[in-house]
């Protein structure tokens, strides 16, 4: 019976222990080795006090040991919580404190980052590197400590499908991120949905482009493990250089590439696909934000053997709808978000939660086994995010309110229109602009802040901001642009830091005196257009 996410690896290991499970920079782990290594890690964690239900952080750059960490933590009955290796220490400390992380799995490269985290939020156990600690309560050890642990089977801990498998932190509107809790059930359901939809099998080589804290990564690991495919990790530096990315896709003979539109835009505009044979690709999946139609058209022409598919779904639901793109698709409009996967119900409702007439705009609500359990420690949000329809007396159906506004096209595909709130996608990652404003307003020296989205020439969104200094901070001594930027960079992940920051005397205002962010956004977008300022 398969009911925990780590059963996927052990099942694949039992069927085919020598099949390659994970690859990164030429290093490799078979399913048998991954099962054994994750057993060892689970025993080590259990020996050092990790109990079922605990939250264990992962702070690593891409390497094969990331998979050992993911499965080892789950085999100890705990939930893994990926910490963004590009984020500042304040962010790591916030997450660790918010969900009570006392143990982190890491690597020697991250020694400085883990040490800084420990200084801000004391840890009891660190596995993966030794750190200096003044407190007696912290035990740290390198990977060598795994050698003495049992490899044949995981520790006998009680765990069920509704228990937490992982928590992914994402931007929140009140100035602090919120943790999205997934269970083994929702994780397994998503793996099953994708293997059903895309036909992954043991011959597939599936990319892991996204960092672990970004939910695109769950397909890369868990769908692959279910199908017995190989997950090929794409290191962070490779993602930044299109020529290296194209070379890796070709060199590793990837068959499935799942990424964000920005990466596809860069591949299309850099021309790097010309010198690389990516003919093995059979699926190019993309999600996280809207894909510019002209670059999609260019890529489809460059990769005629691949099928392209838009995957839509907030982190709270995993993927919930998708739009496989027909070879003769006309690229004159935004790509639809498509139709629900099997075992997913989608409702488009009005302000009274009633289904809208066909073709009308409404909020998208999703019911599916891939739904999160809720936000960690945010009862008031959990109550608001669920819409309950009562089919039978006393037995509610829980829907998740996506906050996305959509409408149904005549062919029943759904089309995304916009957000109900101020969340945008920067490089495919969620940023609630209210969070960035809240962080700015928390500064004594800032009186008012306005953060707004700007669209670049390719249709990708960027973040710009303006601040009005407090009366005591005027004159540039207590508040300057670079000071503000450093402060923001210390608290927010890189993709949430505004690309442009101006200190101003005032903002454009509406007739009621409120900040006119719409005008700010419109003028700033126009200024960025070719021929603009």
């Amino acid at each position: 019976m398969r009911y925990l996410l780590w059963h996927l690896v052990d099942d694949s290991a039992a069927r085919n222990p020598d099949a390659e499970a994970i690859r990164c920079r030429g290093e490799s782990l078979t399913y048998g080795a991954l099962a054994a290594a994750s057993n060892r890690l689970a025993h080590l964690l259990a020996e050092h006090g990790v109990r079922p239900g605990d939250r264990v952080g992962i702070l690593m750059n891409k390497r094969v040991e990331c998979a050992v960490a993911i499965y080892g933590i789950m085999k100890a009955g705990a939930a893994y919580v990926p910490l963004d290796p590009g984020a500042p220490t304040e962010r790591h400390a916030f997450v660790a404190n918010d969900c009570g992380i006392r143990c982190v799995v890491t690597e020697p490269r991250k020694r400085a980052a883990v040490s800084r985290l420990h200084a801000a939020h004391p840890l009891a156990t660190v596995v993966g590197c030794e750190i200096e600690s003044e407190s007696e309560g912290c035990r740290s050890m390198g990977f060598a400590a795994l050698e003495a642990c049992e490899a044949a089977r995981p520790p006998a801990v009680h765990a069920m499908e509704q228990d937490l498998s992982y928590i992914l932190y994402t931007s929140g509107s009140t100035g602090v991120p919120k943790g999205i809790m997934h269970s083994h059930r929702s994780g397994l359901a998503w793996a099953e949905v994708t293997v059903d939809a895309y036909g992954f099998d043991g011959a597939d080589r599936i990319s892991n482009y996204a960092p672990l804290h970004f939910d695109l990564s769950t397909l890369d690991y868990f769908s692959a493990a279910l199908a017995g495919s190989t997950t090929v990790m794409i290191p962070e530096d490779v993602t930044k250089v299109p020529a290296s990315l194209a070379a890796l896709i070709a060199g590793e003979a990837l068959t499935v590439f799942y990424t964000v539109p920005l990466a596809l835009t860069q591949l299309a505009t850099s021309g790097c696909l010309d010198g690389n044979d990516c003919a093995q690709l059979r699926w190019v999946l993309f999600g996280g934000e809207q894909m510019p139609p002209k670059h999609l058209a260019a890529l489809m022409a460059a990769l005629p053997g691949a099928r392209f598919c838009n995957v839509y779904g907030p982190t709270e639901t995993n993927g919930c709808t998708h739009f496989p793109i027909a070879p003769d698709h006309v690229h004159d409009a935004p790509v639809p978000i498509g139709r629900p996967y099997r075992n997913v119900e989608a409702l488009v409702v009005d302000a009274d939660d009633q289904p809208v007439a066909p073709g009308e705009v409404g909020e998208l609500l999703i019911r599916a086994p891939t739904l999160m359990r809720g936000y960690w420690g945010r009862e008031e949000l959990n109550a608001r995010s669920a819409f309950l329809r009562r089919e039978f007396a006393g037995v509610p159906d829980r829907f998740h309110r996506t906050g996305d506004l959509v409408y149904a096209l005549p062919d029943d595909n759904l089309q995304f229109v916009g957000r109900k709130d101020r969340q945008i996608k920067s490089r495919g990652c969620r940023v609630d602009l209210d969070e960035v404003e809240a962080v700015m307003l928390a500064l004594d020296s800032v009186s008012e802040a306005a953060v707004y989205p700007v669209t670049d020439g390719d249709g990708h969104q960027l973040i710009e901001a303006r601040a009005i200094p407090a009366a005591h901070a005027r004159g540039g001594e207590t508040l300057s642009e670079s000071m503000l930027r450093s402060l923001l960079r210390r608290q927010l992940p890189p993709y949430a830091v505004p690309v442009r920051l101006d200190i101003v005397d005032d903002f454009p205002r509406t007739s009621t005196g409120k900040v006119d962010r719409v005008t700010l956004a419109r003028e700033a977008t126009a200024a960025r257009a070719p021929g603009g300022d």
């Binding site: 750059n61 290796p85 590009g86 290191p235 962070e236 530096d237 490779v238 993602t239 930044k240 250089v241 299109p242 020529a243 290296s244 920005l262 860069q266 850099s270 021309g271 790097c272 010198g275 490089r427 642009e481 670079s482 930027r485 450093s486 960079r489 890189p494 920051l501």
Partner: protein, 84 residues
């Protein structure tokens, strides 16, 4: 740190990060540690071509040649591209 490294650091801090106080050393991992994103890599190449008066071939823009300021300076020296 040599003059080339200094000039590169200056460009990254002021033009890419817009943060002249940013604590950047020649050995910091620009790409692995998310200091410079993909757009930043392109702008860095444009800067080098403009200051050095020489084209950087597309096949030379790789993670191996652009990992740290020190490595970039080494690449420029090997190709006899002077930006100072």
């Amino acid at each position: 740190m040599n003059a080339t490294e200094s000039k590169l650091i200056d460009f990254i801090r002021v033009q890419l990060l817009e943060d002249p106080e940013y604590d950047l050393t020649p050995d910091d991992e620009l790409l692995l540690d998310d200091i410079v994103d993909s757009l930043g890599v392109m702008r860095l190449v444009e800067f080098i071509e403009h200051e050095g008066g020489a084209a950087v071939p597309a096949e030379d823009v790789t993670i191996d040649n652009f990992s740290t300021v020190s490595v970039i300076a080494g690449y420029l020296s090997a190709r006899s591209i002077a930006i100072t």
